[in-house]
């Protein structure tokens, strides 16, 4: 084309006109798309398209989830102090000695109240694993407790068939949802010891969760109620713009 009879200056002007116009249309279309996306009605405190992509990302990555994929474990020399972060749901007046876990098995009318000795009766598991906050920081912490999987097997094995676990503080101020696969993961523990000490109040005494397959805000402190559901239960931070799945 270059050395044909076409006047290069004229050809240049023609191509420039056409292409710069396309680029301009593209830019306007891009801005229009962005304006449209962010103006959609909110779902869980996010414009719905962003919420749906978060959910889609969660579905995609949960289909790649393998029970055998474990977070790294560390030597005791790597243990760090965990700064307390958030006290929502920790302010009920019950003394720790009077604490009971309200346990509601899946599709059951039977409601059980469990004590800390009921939990401690299960095989103890210790795990030195990195707690990862969604804010972007992490700490290596030693957790002592029982596998959530062992707990369900002992007290309500049929509950493994539920799709979700819902866990809430005694006052129901804080609540998290976990998909059952994550809850039954080998590194999901009901924790009563932290860094070699009994769990203290700011970290959720007498019983909290730790899971290596979710961000820290899913590792709920001061557990009051555990129940199961086939429909997605409420999740405190997912109602405030965060990812419902929040998987790691």
């Amino acid at each position: 084309m270059s050395k044909s009879n076409v006047n290069p200056e004229r050809e240049l002007a023609r191509r420039s006109r056409r292409t710069f116009l396309s680029l301009g249309v593209g830019a306007v279309a891009g801005v229009a798309c962005w304006t449209y996306l962010r103006s959609r009605p909110h779902e869980g405190d996010l414009p719905s398209p962003f919420r749906r992509v978060l959910q889609w990302n969660g579905e995609l990555t949960s289909s790649l989830f393998r029970e055998s994929h474990l977070a790294p474990e560390f030597l005791p020399s790597r243990i760090e102090a965990l700064p307390p972060n958030g006290d929502i749901g920790l302010n009920d007046q019950t003394e720790n000695e009077d604490w009971r876990l309200l346990f509601i098995p899946h599709e059951s009318d039977e409601v059980r109240y469990l004590t800390l000795p009921d939990i401690r009766a299960l095989p103890k598991r210790e795990l030195i694993s990195e707690f990862k906050c969604i804010e972007g920081w992490s700490r290596i912490v030693q957790w002592g407790g029982v596998r959530f999987r062992d707990f369900v097997q002992r007290y309500a094995p049929l509950s493994e068939k539920a799709a979700y676990v819902a866990i809430a503080t005694p006052d129901n101020e804080y609540y998290v949802a976990l998909d059952i696969v994550s809850a039954l993961h080998a590194q999901t523990l009901l924790v009563y010891e932290m860094n070699g000490e009994p769990l203290n109040d700011v970290h959720g005494a007498p019983l909290r969760l730790f899971t290596s397959v979710k961000y820290g805000h899913k590792s709920i402190k001061r557990i009051g109620t555990i129940s199961f559901s086939d429909r997605p239960p409420r999740d405190y931070w997912a109602e405030r713009g965060y990812d419902y799945y929040a998987g790691l």
């Binding site: 270059s2 240049l12 420039s16 790294p72 790691l248």
Partner: protein
Amino acid sequence: MTTHLKEKHTLITRWAHWINFPVLGMMIWSGLLIYWANDVYRIGIARWTLFHFFPDWVYDAFGLDHQLAYGMSIHFFFMWLFAINGVIYFVFTLLSGAWRELLPTWQSPREAVHVIVYELGLRKTLPPQDKYNSAQKIAYTAIVLMGLGSLVTGIAIYRPTQVAWLTSLVGGYRPARFLHFLFMLGFVCFFLIHIVQVIRAGWNNFRSMVIGAELVVEQEAVQHE
């Protein structure tokens, strides 16, 4: 003296370039919304800090504070566009053979110094070059590798338990986040230099990135007559 149009950039290169510009912009902006929630990086020794990433006025000036959740939702939306666009560009560049014009050679580092000295006005001549000079080859290859690096470190932070092997490979969870941040700084530095160089190279060069061809003035044709 005659002029003619010389094809310079393929359609796919140009599409990938102009899509990447706003998409990477969105990734950096939403990334900063996320970074704000734990802005620990700084240049300094022990307790002495030369520069903190970032001073409060930066967050104030660009409105980057208190939007972690929103930032994450945008980051995990545009990551798909960034990754898909990048993969298309990468595969096309590999298969079309265009990588040959981009890949630095063993002479490139030395020649690149030469080019930089020339650009600073301290030298009158340039080393002979093909489509891109040695400094460009290094910069344009580096930016592709940085894109790849931000993708890999991004995945390593995104699902560190599921891809624990990858997270370990890039040094662990915290180093992965730090590297991800460094790549972002790299993109910003590249962008600033790129803008200056594009302005200096002039309109004909800029236009070729849009329309694909540039106007070449042929003086040899005159000499042969």
